[in-house]
């Protein structure tokens, strides 16, 4: 019995291979886009974890020099003698051909176990590492290093990408930093009777672990965007699958009725159909994961370059096959197929055995379900509006996005139906009247594909607007913040004073970059001391400020906060901020600080020096009318290494290059999502083609040629895409607004201004129309060549 029933069910797919292909391809594409993006995210996160494991970042408290320089090895020895369980780390960068490799030297004998484990390797033997003759790196880094370093290189996939791990002695040798240390890692458990830090090494600062760099947190925004895009692409794909499964189930209503009438129990039937979906999901999921690997491999180099440029995060440029990624891809395929098929299976299970098997029952059902859909769409859009006003927190921001997109998608067929009903009423001439009425009749069959197009286009408009707005804002922000023509770093504290003496007569202004990490309102904050002058007063733009902000700050009477600190701590203009014990100042201005994950407070240089006399200025911003000449003087006359000087234009160029890479990633995802929507339209038209014959035969019999019918099919697809695109624009802009003004604020603490990009939108419109036209081309061509006998059959009595 089961075999007979299964053969009947599967025969449907063999007789309708396009439908089977739609189902598999839709699910495979959805899985591919989702798992591709997830693979990129996983790879990046694995790289951050490897970095954290290699460098001990974020896991341990650390001791660093108050001056920000390296510290002498003698401090390490003194601390060990005083009872402190510390371990030295030296870090630096080395150029190997085109690449810059991070050199990390550790002392495995004193390092916490989690760090020394890598040095022990598979054998657990420390002797080779301690000999200072070997270095560990990923196979990729080993290849890039070649014979640049005089070490025996051992490939180890567990090391952070772009990093060479070696004994501290070897690192000191390689970096030319004899007897120097970058930082000291503190073991979690310290002896109670150790001497106080100020008695042993007063020039060292304790840096708690939560203040250490956490690359995962820094790059969250980027990964969040990628995940959102992946999820949206997956949703678009699921729309296709839902359409294919829904149509296939509806087409098989008569078969289901026959099977049951012939004695197949309902439970067995539903079980077999569920198994059928499961098999489809596994096949499509497997294909999707493989395709996803291709997507990830294509995207990863650009993503890695973007992450390195934007955040300095080293990400492995090559992809590894991870079981968790395979499983999550297959899991998503199963969940997607389950979501898409659940409703159809439920309807089959509840369908009366004597229900009439109408070939267009799904269309009639869609018409009957209109009031329900209208109610749900209204509720979702109202909920979205309510969340804009009253919603708080990141979760609710995403709920708002979901309500907005789902509500709009559900409302689309209703709006299109209303527009087409109006067109039917206004149509002049019998052909126009028939065309509009026929287009309206096609809506239920095409609505899922059009919803997919709506979401894809809205995502394109929304994300492009967000990224482009970010770029414009960020470029303006760079002009504001990187006003100095040159940035120089002194070699050490002694050099700092001499460098200032050298610069004062040669530069228009010398601006020390003083900062210290502290806590304000319980939040990690960088406190800056600014030498206030025209560079600040003429360039900085405030989001909110008092009229005499700079003069008050210069006099030590007020403080400026960055937006994220102001929003997170709820401190706005006029609020008093405690910047040091016993020192509180009113907020006189709030500035945008895009891309920075932590808070920032700016006070006058004089006040800063009074509060933190231990901080020595090593970095300076220089204003000059002739930066090239000043740079030459610094190198040739003063003897400052060229690596200690950064040209402002170089930083800006680098930042813009990074953005171009980001755009490549976003652009690729945009094209992929749009392609999926185009595919949805193609598949809907193809699956509808067979059902269209009885509807088109009368028009053909009344005098339209088959070619006319084909042309009208293309016109119909383009027209529906145009109407959908017109609705996608406001939806996309609403999406962009939510991302910029709500999600960004909730996730990162800063709000971006929104700019409009009409040329981009027109280009997208044309792309969407082209996708719809191309999708309609094949079905239209098939229609234009349909044999007259097939059309005549419609009128045969014996059908």
């Amino acid at each position: 019995m089961t075999a007979a029933a299964l053969s009947a069910l599967l025969s449907h797919w063999l007789r309708n291979p396009v439908q089977a292909f739609t189902l598999v391809a839709g699910l495979a594409l959805a899985t591919a886009l989702w798992s591709g993006v997830q693979a990129v995210n996983l790879e990046a996160r694995a790289s951050y974890d490897a970095a954290a494991a290699t460098l001990g970042e974020g896991q341990f408290d650390q001791l660093v020099a108050a001056s920000g320089e390296t510290l002498p090895q003698a401090s390490f020895i003194a601390l060990r003698r005083a009872g402190w369980l510390v371990s030295p780390v030296l870090e630096g960068r080395l150029r190997a051909g085109e690449a810059r490799i991070r050199i990390v030297g550790i002392d495995p004998l004193t390092a916490p176990m989690v760090l020394s484990a890598q040095a022990r390797g598979a054998t657990g033997d420390l002797a080779p590492f301690l000999s200072g003759t070997i270095g560990l790196a990923t196979p990729d880094t080993v290849a890039r290093l070649g014979d640049t370093v005089q070490l025996r290189l051992i490939a180890d996939a567990g090391i952070a990408p772009g990093t060479l791990l070696t004994d501290i002695g070897a690192a000191q040798r390689l970096l030319g930093q004899t007897e120097r240390i970058s930082r000291l890692i503190l073991a979690p458990e310290q002896p109670i009777d150790r001497l106080p830090l100020k008695d042993v090494a007063a020039d060292l600062l304790l840096k708690p672990m939560q203040q250490a760099t956490d690359m995962g947190r820094l790059t969250d925004s980027f990964h969040l965007n990628l995940t959102a895009f992946g999820l949206l692409s997956f949703t678009v794909g699921i729309f296709i699958v839902h359409g294919a499964i829904g149509l296939a189930f509806e087409q098989r209503r008569s078969m289901v009725r026959t099977l049951r009438a012939l004695g197949l129990p309902l439970r067995r039937l539903v079980l077999l159909m569920a198994v059928e979906v499961l098999v489809f999901a596994l096949v499509a999921g497997g294909l999707g994961v493989m395709l996803g690997y291709g997507v990830a491999a294509a995207l990863l180099p650009d993503v890695a370059a973007t992450l390195e440029g934007l955040y300095g995060a080293q990400v492995n440029g090559s992809l590894q096959l991870r079981p968790v990624w395979w499983l999550s891809g297959l899991g998503m395929a199963l969940v997607g197929a389950g979501l898409a098929a659940g409703g159809a299976l439920w309807r089959i299970a509840r369908m009366s055995l004597l229900a009439s098997a109408q070939p267009r029952a799904w269309a009639m059902q869609a018409r009957q379900a209109r009031p329900v859909k209208a109610t749900i769409a209204t509720m979702l859009l109202t909920a979205a509006a309510g969340l804009v006003v009253w919603g708080k927190g990141l979760i609710l921001a995403f709920v708002l996005l979901a309500c907005l997109l789902l509500g709009a998608a559900l409302a689309l067929p209703l709006i299109l139906d209303t527009v087409l009903a109006g067109a039917v009423r206004r149509a002049r001439g019998v052909l126009a009247g028939w065309f509009w009425a026929d287009t309206r009749q096609q809506l239920p069959g095409l609505s899922l594909a059009l919803m997919a197009l709506l979401l894809a286009m809205a995502a394109n408009v929304g994300v492009s607007t967000m990224v482009s707005s970010f770029r414009l804002t960020f470029v303006a922000f760079l002009d504001q913040r990187l006003a100095s023509e040159l940035y120089v770093t002194a070699r050490n504290a002694q050099d700092s004073a001499a460098l200032q003496d050298f610069l004062v007569p040669r530069a228009k202004a010398v601006l020390p970059l003083l900062s210290i990490e502290t806590q304000i309102s319980g939040l990690p904050t960088a406190l800056y001391g600014a030498r206030i002058g025209p560079t600040y007063t003429q360039n900085w733009r405030f989001l909110a400020s008092d009229t005499d902000v700079w003069s008050r700050v210069a006099q030590g009477e007020a403080v400026i906060l960055n937006e994220q600190l102001a929003r997170r701590s709820g401190l706005w203009l006029g609020a008093r901020v405690q910047i040091a014990p016993g020192v509180d100042l009113p907020v006189a201005g709030v500035v945008g600080d895009y891309g920075n994950p932590i808070g920032q407070a700016i006070i006058a240089e004089s006040l800063f020096r009074r509060l933190h006399p231990e901080v020595i200025t090593l970095r300076f911003g220089l204003r000059s009318d002739d930066p090239d000449a000043l740079r030459s003087a610094l190198i040739e006359d003063y003897g400052l290494p060229a690596s200690q000087i950064i040209n402002q234009s170089d930083i800006k160029a680098l930042s813009l290059r990074v953005f171009e890479r980001t755009f490549t990633v976003t652009g690729a995802l945009n094209v992929l999502t749009l392609a999926v929507a185009g595919f949805a339209i193609l598949m809907s038209l193809l699956t509808l083609a067979a059902l269209r014959v009885p509807q088109l035969a009368p028009a053909w019999a009344l005098g339209l040629t088959r070619r006319d019918l084909g042309r009208l099919e293309i016109l119909r697809a383009v027209l529906l895409a145009l109407l959908t695109a017109l609705l996608a624009l406001p939806l996309g802009l609403a999406l962009a607004w939510v991302l910029l003004a709500i999600v960004n604020v909730q996730a990162f603490g800063w709000r971006l201004p929104m700019y409009l990009f009409p040329i981009d939108y027109i280009r997208l419109f044309l792309l969407a129309l082209m996708a719809a036209g191309l999708a309609a081309l094949w079905p239209a061509w098939r229609l234009a060549r349909i044999p007259p006998a097939a059309l005549l059959k419609v009128f045969a009595n014996e059908r």
Binding site: A4, S7, S11, T258, A261, L262, L264, L353, L354
Partner: protein
Amino acid sequence: MLLEVAQLTKSYRGAERTVAVLRGVDLALDAGQTLALTGESGSGKSTLLHLVGGLDLADSGSIRLAGQDVTALDDRGRATLRRTTVGLVFQQFNLIPSLGVAANIAFQARLAGRVDPAHIDRLTRALGLEAHLHKYPEQLSGGQQQRVAIARTLAARPRLVLADEPTGNLDEATADDVLDQMLALVAETGASLIMATHSTRLAARMDRILHLSRGRLQ
């Protein structure tokens, strides 16, 4: 006695009121007997066939078919009854469009676990379907499709064939032809037949004729 129906009632809830379709029907049928059910549209012919075939549930009354109380069967039991005891022939043929003719003919026998290739072969030849075995239903005429449906039903060797206007979609000559073949094959397999029809001419070829009017047998 193969079939005994006693005081069977069935009503449907309409948009405005409840319509009583069957109002206490009594019926008995011997094994191998053929019976024509006639009556105007809406008289309850199809409903009676649906209830006897376990496709629908009666409001009251009893149906005993081959020693089984059909009205006491649950959904699974009624499915087994349709698979093993009853054969249904519909006006709309209800073939499986994605299966070829050969697979359609063998289908119910496979469901019932009673595949007899020789029997199927005999039915195929008797109904003149040999040349069409590799075709799909959509490639056949209405008469040919109904012959496939009859072959499918008889291939499973049901004890009772229920045919609901089996020739309603066919012209007169084809209808006669199809009915001839069906009656001959039903007689050959020893099955009983109840056929609902509007045609008094076709009804006259059965052993008995019962007329349904306003839910009652006359």
